[in-house]
């Protein structure tokens, strides 16, 4: 049982010397990052800086080329670790939502609960209803993803992740695929999650969210963490030239 190996004092996420190459292309060049429980860490940076790859390495959607990724003290790069088990503790939200189009909202929210957590249908639906309520979509249980707006789909995707009772949530540019008027509803849900103390690692272009909700901001460029610190500090008074250049382009 993996539960017994979890070190309650260990950081939620501990990335050590992470290197990732795609062929000859080294995307991550040695990343060290620790996220303690309850922290909301936002990652910004130009496209191609490796921020999404970093996030995807944290739940092993990308297999690291070098370095370690520890989740609550467990090194998930160890091939003997039951990664499926660890992943149930890590909620993941994608840019393109990735809801299951052949299942209605309730099906999307219950399938992993039933197939992975072995919950009964009744119990899974009870939890699903509670999570749908939490993202403000209680009345959409019977809808198919194709009938929902982008903002609603993303909120369902967040609810789907929450149904597994994760200890932490990863967000990969959760609002980048949304029409501007739909961004707010998703950020609102993420904000409420942060307020409830959820540990979050968020790759985003929403500087407002990073400033107001983030407890720490990381700026990545060229496969390195260039700068990190209090969001207000980094955004208001960046220390590195590359950070300044980037911020002057996006702010």
């Amino acid at each position: 049982m993996i539960t017994e190996l979890i070190d309650v004092h260990a950081p939620a996420i501990d990335v050590q010397g992470l290197v990732k190459s795609f062929g000859d292309n080294e995307v991550l060049k040695g990343i060290d990052l620790t996220v303690t429980k309850g922290e909301v860490v936002c990652v910004i940076g130009p496209s191609g800086s490796g921020k999404s790859t970093l996030l995807r390495s944290v739940n092993l959607l990308e297999e690291p080329t070098g370095g370690k990724v520890l989740i609550e003290g467990i090194d998930i790069t160890d091939p003997d670790v039951d990664i499926d088990r660890v992943r149930t503790r890590i909620g993941m939200v994608f840019q393109s939502f990735n809801l299951f189009p052949h299942l209605d909202v309730m099906g999307n929210l219950t399938i992993a609960q039933q197939r992975v957590k072995k919950r009964s249908k009744k119990e899974a639906e009870l939890i699903a209803h509670a999570m749908l309520d939490r993202v403000g979509l209680a009345e959409k249980a019977d809808a198919y993803p194709g009938h929902l707006s982008g903002g609603q789909q993303q909120r369902v995707a967040i609810a789907r992740a929450l149904c597994m009772n994760p200890d932490m949530m990863l967000f990969d540019e959760p609002t980048s695929a949304l029409d501007p008027e739909l961004v707010g509803e998703v950020l609102q849900v993420m904000r409420s999650l942060a307020d409830e103390g959820m540990t979050m690692l968020v790759v985003t272009h929403e500087m407002g969210f990073a400033r107001e909700v983030g407890s720490r901001l990381i700026f990545m460029d060229g496969g390195y963490i260039v700068e990190e610190g209090d969001p207000r500090e980094v955004l208001g008074n960046p220390q590195h030239q590359r950070t300044k250049d980037f911020l002057s382009r996006v702010l």
Binding site: N59, L61, D84, R85, R87, T88, I90, G91, M92, F94, S96, N98, L99, F100, P101, H102, I111, A112, R115, V116, K117, Y144, G146, A157, R160, A161, M164
Partner: protein, 265 residues
């Protein structure tokens, strides 16, 4: 003359319709009905076909098709997954299988299973279930090869994000395949699968090469034998109509399903 474009288009369409109708009418009128009628549309012969042509022939055709389709589908899923497997030997076996049974005429495969297999195994055909079972095995082999390729294409058409989402929820590769990828792949391949079904329905007519009993005749064999016995082509026309009665609603149903799935996406 300056007609509006829509008026002009309508006019052209009416001309095309008129020409088509004229051709059909001409074909019907100029055919030698005095000869065709008694030979191919003979009511007396037609009446004699009932109920056998329905209760034996049509029922057998549907049964054989269903068995070959389900068998081919199950084997096809297995072959498709093998072909997509990371394990080399699985891929090789699946590839060889598919190439072999797709490359051979269905008739030869059925013949081979019916006659070569029993000798190879060293028993009499009866001990392997008799000609009907052997013929169906042959048909399943053919069906599996065609369907494997269709299913593989369907599975590969499911976006990678679906697998990533499922794996991120802690689902194993097996559960992801079974609950997320395969169901979506199948929605994509409903039209080609319907096509396979129609092809199989027609291929059941090849089962005669392994031999038939009175009870095991399907539509074509039944009609051909009846046609010989009566020296009359009417049974063949009846069989043709029965094939169409099954296949046309089927393709309509598939088109309807496809539209419904498109809305769901």
């Amino acid at each position: 003359m300056s007609l509006r474009r829509t008026t002009k288009q309508k006019l052209y369409r009416y001309i095309v319709y008129a020409v088509l109708i004229a051709i059909v009418v001409w074909a019907l009128v100029s055919a030698d009905w005095a000869k065709l009628g008694p030979l191919f549309f003979n009511p007396e012969v037609a009446v004699k076909m009932f109920p056998g042509i329905i209760t034996t022939a049509l029922v057998n055709t549907l049964w054989f098709t269903a068995v070959a389709f389900v068998g081919g589908l199950l084997l096809g899923v297995l072959l498709a997954l093998m072909k997509l497997s990371e394990i080399g030997p699985f891929r090789w076996i699946a590839t060889a299988w598919i190439e072999l049974f797709r490359g051979l005429p269905a008739l030869l495969t059925i013949f081979a299973v019916g006659f070569i297999l029993p000798i190879a195994v060293g028993v009499r055909a009866q001990e392997l279930g008799g000609p009907v079972v052997l013929g169906l095995i042959g048909l399943i082999l053919v069906a599996s090869a065609y369907m494997a390729e269709t299913i593989r294409a369907g599975i590969q058409a499911v976006p990678k994000g679906q697998t990533e989402a499922a794996r991120s929820l802690g689902m194993s590769p097996m559960k992801t395949t079974f609950w997320i990828v395969v169901p979506q792949g199948f929605r994509i391949i409903i039209p080609p699968l319907t096509n396979e079904f129609v092809l199989l329905l027609k291929d059941t007519s090849l089962l005669f090469v392994v031999g038939t009993f009175v009870w095991s005749k399907e539509l074509t064999t039944f009609a051909r034998d009846a046609s010989t016995q009566n020296s009359n082509g009417t049974p063949l026309i009846m069989a043709a109509i029965l094939y169409l009665i099954v296949t046309i609603p089927l393709t309509r149903f598939s088109a309807w399903l496809e539209r419904r799935m498109a809305r769901q996406r």
